[in-house]
Symmetry: C2
Subunit: 295 residues, 2 copies
């Protein structure tokens, strides 16, 4: 609402966090999605694919890095490609980096804020939700070097009066978390990721790329329709009195039919529970009436 006019367009690689669509519609903006595929590990599409979508109403590119739902982490080369597009067409770059502590490559993180020459185009979205497991605190931030955007956003902030007071106090206190907190959380997620991804790829017919960031993966299942499968798991299936809950990936795509056999799995459970979930998922896939064998 601070950067775009009604009808203006934002290009978003899909699958993408579903609320981007909801909030864009609310604000009168139009999301144009650019497909990425599980076969290519959800890598960023080529420049030409972006340029096919760019027209006189295009105002922004939006990325989530590391990505929700795929866990994909943009490489230096991909970030430079985005930078060049933003610069060439004078677009905004909205970069949702709420998972940026959760990266598993060993190389330094490339933030949108690190890209030179587009400082006035970049708007970073941050939050304490993921970093300190404080989703209910409802404290986030919009960060930009563009003074005009800051002034416009401040008007919305003033209309809103204030973010939650107690949340502000909690969030500020969280900044004092010791280095050891991050290290422990990080080590835990590295373990969980290995456990989940290895386990998924051992199940016949299942495929998951190795996500390099965040705590999600999008996996392909041997099913007719993951929406139906996820519902069936909750309503009709159990293994020793337990079942698994996953997010059907189709909700993260706007292209009809895309992601129909994919699910998003969050590895926010203890490793012991993840291991049990993998056993249950394997049993569920064996029993599910809509199982489809890969061609």
């Amino acid at each position: 609402m601070a950067c775009l006019n009604p009808g203006d367009e934002i290009i978003v690689p899909e699958p993408a966090y579903a609320n981007y669509m909801a909030f864009a519609i609310s604000a009168g903006a139009k999301i144009r999605t650019i497909a990425t595929s599980i076969e290519e590990g959800f890598a960023l599409p080529k420049v030409e694919k972006f340029e096919e979508l760019i027209n006189e109403r295009t105002r922004a590119i939006m990325i989530c890095n590391p990505n929700n739902p795929t866990g994909y982490l943009y490489t230096r080369r991909e970030m430079n490609q985005i930078r060049d597009l933003v610069k060439k067409y004078d677009l905004y770059l909205f970069s949702d980096e709420v998972y940026r502590e959760y990266i598993y490559t060993g190389s330094p993180y490339i933030s949108a804020m690190h890209l030179h020459g587009i400082e006035n185009n970049t708007v970073l979205i941050d939050s304490v939700s993921k970093r300190y497991s404080e989703c209910g605190i409802r404290i986030g931030a919009l960060i930009t070097k563009n003074e005009e955007i800051r002034k416009a956003v401040m008007k919305f902030c003033q209309a809103r009066l204030s973010p939650p007071l107690i949340g502000q106090i909690v969030a500020e206190a969280s900044l004092d978390a010791p280095e050891s907190y991050y290290r422990d959380v990080y080590d835990e997620y590295v373990e969980r990721r290995k456990c989940l991804i290895d386990g998924l790829n051992r199940i016949p017919g299942v495929y998951s790329p190795i996500p390099m960031g965040a705590f999600y993966t999008v996996a392909k299942l041997p099913v007719d329709d993951s929406e139906k499968f996820c519902r069936w798991c909750l309503e009709e299936f159990n293994y020793k009195g337990e079942t698994v809950m996953m997010a059907p990936a189709s909700g993260f795509y706007t292209t009809p039919g895309a992601g129909i056999n994919q699910v998003r799995i969050a590895y926010v459970l203890k490793r012991k529970d993840l291991e049990r979930a993998l056993v249950i998922l394997e049993k569920a896939l064996e029993e599910y009436p809509g199982r489809v064998e890969e061609e």
Copy 2:
């Protein structure tokens, strides 16, 4: 956003809470204001005045009862008048009743929810902000018997994910406040109101109606421009090292020039401080270079 389409109109008696305008603009709705006057104690205008504004884009009437900024409390007769208009033109009635515990008439409170025959048109706005002095908690409610609106609003709620968690816990606990809490707070406001309104009307050239609800009043001052006067009080004036802060009332009007010599005063200070504020205000009005004597 759940009830109106872009360009639809909402009739609001003015002066009105300034954020209504901001949020309506954000949502693409248009506020049409209907003037009330300090001389008539901010009573609701006649039916004809509403009907002059009603056209094919009119979708709602919005009231704040008891009123911010005027402290005005709608009478049974006025509420019936609103009910009849809502019914006749099939409008929504948005009723902001966050101050409804603060009424000083002795007669029972008439809520929009008490009006028969418009149950499906009524949307009540409530909050714990005023009732328990919990503004920073950021917990409120939208209440309606209209199931279609509830379904539409639920979509916005789901997109928002959740209100602040700790605030939810605090707000729920507040509901257990004993009867004595309300009584003490009520008695305190009755005292403060008497102290403030009597004191204001004793200052030469100042006039305030007696507000029957909330903890505000809009008073007329013998000044050229209350925006200038309020600024002057903060920047240039002091009496024994102290000054007064008030809200210029013009911000609560959309009609240009309206309320130019009015201020909104909140009586949320201790009685002792209110008494000192009245002395300071009187001194400020004596010294203010832009003082205007009533014709």
